[in-house]
Amino acid sequence: MLTIKRVPTVVSNYQEDAGEPLGCGRNCLGKCCLPVSKLPLYAYVADAEKEPSSDFLLNSLLLGQWEERMGRGLFRYDVTACETKVIPGDSGFVAQLNEGRHLKKRPTEFRVDRVLQPFDPAKFNFTKIGQEEVLFRFEAGRGDKAYFSESSSLDRNISPNVVAINVSPIEYGHVLLIPRVLDCLPQRIDAQSFLLALNFAAETANPYFRLGYNSLGAFATINHLHFQAYYLSVPFPVEKAQTQNIPLVEDAAKSSVRVSKLINYPVRGLVFEGGNSLKDLGDVVANACICLQDNNIPFNVLISDSGRRIFLFPQCYAEKQALHEVSQELLDTQVNPAVWEIGGHMVLKRKKDYEEASEDYAWRLLAEVSLSEERFEEVNAYIFEATGLVETEVDKKKDAKESGASYESTMAPHFPEGCLVLQ
């Protein structure tokens, strides 16, 4: 059994005393309290012709609730008081100095060699958080328009999806989306939950609100199904990275999903976009994740561009760490490359690391996370088989020339702008 020692991130104010038997009357999310509670409810329209909603209701709700919890002192620190910067360089990695995010407590053992592990009710999970940490429920509504209800009782037979705060936020608005909390699902992707996450992204209609998922073995620390999300008003480096389209044979389901791979980025990964519907796109990616899970390959998923662009990163850092293959210098910065770090957003604990943070450091760290080219191609083969997508038999030469580069860099246009200064 491969394990690493980590100081776990505290996402809930109830996490540290999770071991104690707490009776009800504590207003938790367990079967004792939740079914008789009322929670705010946001109902989205499932699988509509997704026109970005122009009233940004979900954003106002999420941000308003988050700000309100800030006022109540539920967060361990004010993340907006943490200095942040874009590291100079072409990639634009984002670094934050956050000395308060991690507890100064004893590291805990985490098993990193099994991506699928059964739910353990004795360990901390989201049924143990207090309801004050829950912002609202997020459910598919029946009407043709999204709506919000301030106080809604739960249906007996429905296990609610809840959106809760992360008390150690990486950025403003950092929340956790927990599908069917009462069902106590372990941290593993299934098509229904993944589609819920996509709908959440689509509903905010905000390109700066992203969702992320970490599998076990890829730095998830809580084995209770959850996605994370927060706002960052600059692009993630991975979103700017060039991609190479993988030409596909029109697949049987005709889902119109397009797949490309990242090039010129330290972590190898696939990018999925398109699809005739959110569900089509979601199903393809969910199948890819399930394939990785079944093959015990840890991975991270970044949902970006309001659910229209999804990055999938199979990774191997934790395993390398357990096998002592990572340099001490990188380990000392204590950055665990989960989805946000892989995307290019790094939280640094030490001032020295923050001040010296360079594109070179970020690149080196992330390069350790990536699968090798060979292994990546192997994994891709599994993924393609599992998703039913088939690569076309094209010339590798032709492929390279027409490399999805519909992007032409013109920082220096043909006619210098200076020619128009008339003063």
Partner: protein, 392 residues
């Protein structure tokens, strides 16, 4: 009277207020397809579409005016390209990129999209973005293009205003296969040198026209940021303007680092609520909203909170421009930028007697939603003037 009519008026006057009435005629003479957008108006709308653009896409002028450029994107549009454009806008710079767009009838077509910002000469603020869209033909004829060499040559040098460059004539190039409906839309199309030069020429002609006509109003513009940004009232980068423009609530941003804490941003909803125009409020302290019935104790409380860098929620009587009063539920909060230090205070107003929040959120939540949105927008702003650029 909602903020929509405020917005409609802003859209209609966006060009004429800066470049005079005559600019519309001049722009109408240019044959290339192009759009002009105004990032200072909520939603970053189109304020002008050329005849060539409307012909190329099949839309009518009224159908695109006031809309955002994303309406021309569709399911097969490469998302990374969309991000490229979005980031160029946020960073206030030029971008030239091939992208798949959609006409009104839903057919996709490849265009070379070349966009550049127009800066106000006196304060370096971005006033408009000009986006030329050159159709990319699959089969590019090598000999079909007539270049007006003289025009090109002149454009490379310092242009003298008095020279009357008849830019409309250079566009007599042959449009090879302009109707690109036959193109396999999914294959990325690369723009050739012809298309790039065509785009650059078109941009130059538009810039010349805008510059020429801006002199008529005395508020000159140029294609490059000249002089330093921020003389007088600190001007916000257009990326912040665009983010703030998405926020529907009534609010203002004030600058605690400038004397008397002036307003540096006011939302359309604030202008609707109070009856003032944007020019009337920018640069002034919020106290103009106070009047005879305003409780002095409440004002003291506000001052105390601000001194203590705390947020507060108060109720007070405020006055509109026309003298009428309203009970204002006011929430004030410090807002920090990337340095972690306070950059602004946000003040969110709500007329307690109005019942116009029908989305289910409580008034307090609605206000806090605005605070949160402002905090997210300002969070990425670096302390130095202008947008944060990674590698400059």
């Amino acid at each position: 009277m909602g903020s929509n009519s405020v917005r409609d008026r802003l859209v209609d006057q966006s060009l004429t207020s800066r470049y005079s009435q005559w600019v519309l005629e001049a722009l109408d003479e240019l044959e290339d397809p192009f759009l002009i957008t105004d990032p200072a108006i909520a939603g970053h709308p189109i304020v002008f579409a050329s005849r060539g653009f409307l012909a190329m896409t099949g839309y009518a002028f009224g159908e695109v005016l006031g809309r955002n450029g994303r309406i021309f994107q569709g399911p097969a549009t490469d998302r990374r390209s969309v991000m490229e454009i979005r980031e160029a806008i946020r960073e206030e710079r030029t971008v030239q990129i091939s992208i798949l767009n959609y006409r009104k009838d839903g057919t996709p077509h490849w265009i070379l999209f070349h966009m550049c910002p127009i800066f106000g000469a006196e304060d370096g603020r971005v006033l408009h973005f000009v986006a030329v869209q050159v159709p990319i033909s699959k089969r590019r004829s090598r000999c079909g293009v007539e270049r007006c060499g003289a025009v090109l040559g002149t454009c490379r040098e310092e242009v003298r205003l008095d020279k009357d460059l008849d830019c409309s004539h250079h566009a007599r190039e042959v449009f090879v296969d302009m109707d690109s409906r036959g193109l396999e839309a999914k294959e990325p199309q690369m723009a050739g040198d012809q298309e790039k030069e065509k785009a650059a020429n078109a941009i130059n002609c538009i810039l010349l026209a805008l510059n020429r006509y801006s002199k008529m109003t005395g508020r000159v513009v140029c294609g490059k940021r000249c002089g330093s940004a921020g003389s007088g009232v600190a001007s916000l980068p257009s990326s912040l303007n665009i983010s703030l423009g998405r926020i529907k609530q009534s609010f203002v941003l004030t600058d605690p680092h400038s004397p008397d804490m002036p307003i540096v941003y006011a939302s359309d909803a604030f202008l609707s609520l109070t009856g003032y125009s944007r020019q009337e409020v920018l640069g002034r302290n919020c106290r103009f909203l106070n009047g005879p019935g305003t409780d002095y104790e409440v004002l003291k409380e506000i001052k105390k909170s601000i001194h203590g860098q705390q947020s507060c929620t108060v109720r007070l009587l405020n006055y509109r421009k026309d003298g009428s009063s309203f009970r204002n539920l006011l929430h004030i909060s410090p807002v920090r930028n990337a340095s972690g230090k306070i950059a602004f205070y946000v003040c969110v107003q709500m007329d307690e007697s109005s019942k116009n929040i029908d989305n289910g959120l409580s008034p307090e939540m609605w206000q806090l939603g605005a605070v949160g949105a402002v905090k997210v927008a300002v969070r990425s702003l670096s302390s130095s003037a202008g947008p944060s650029r990674p590698s400059q």
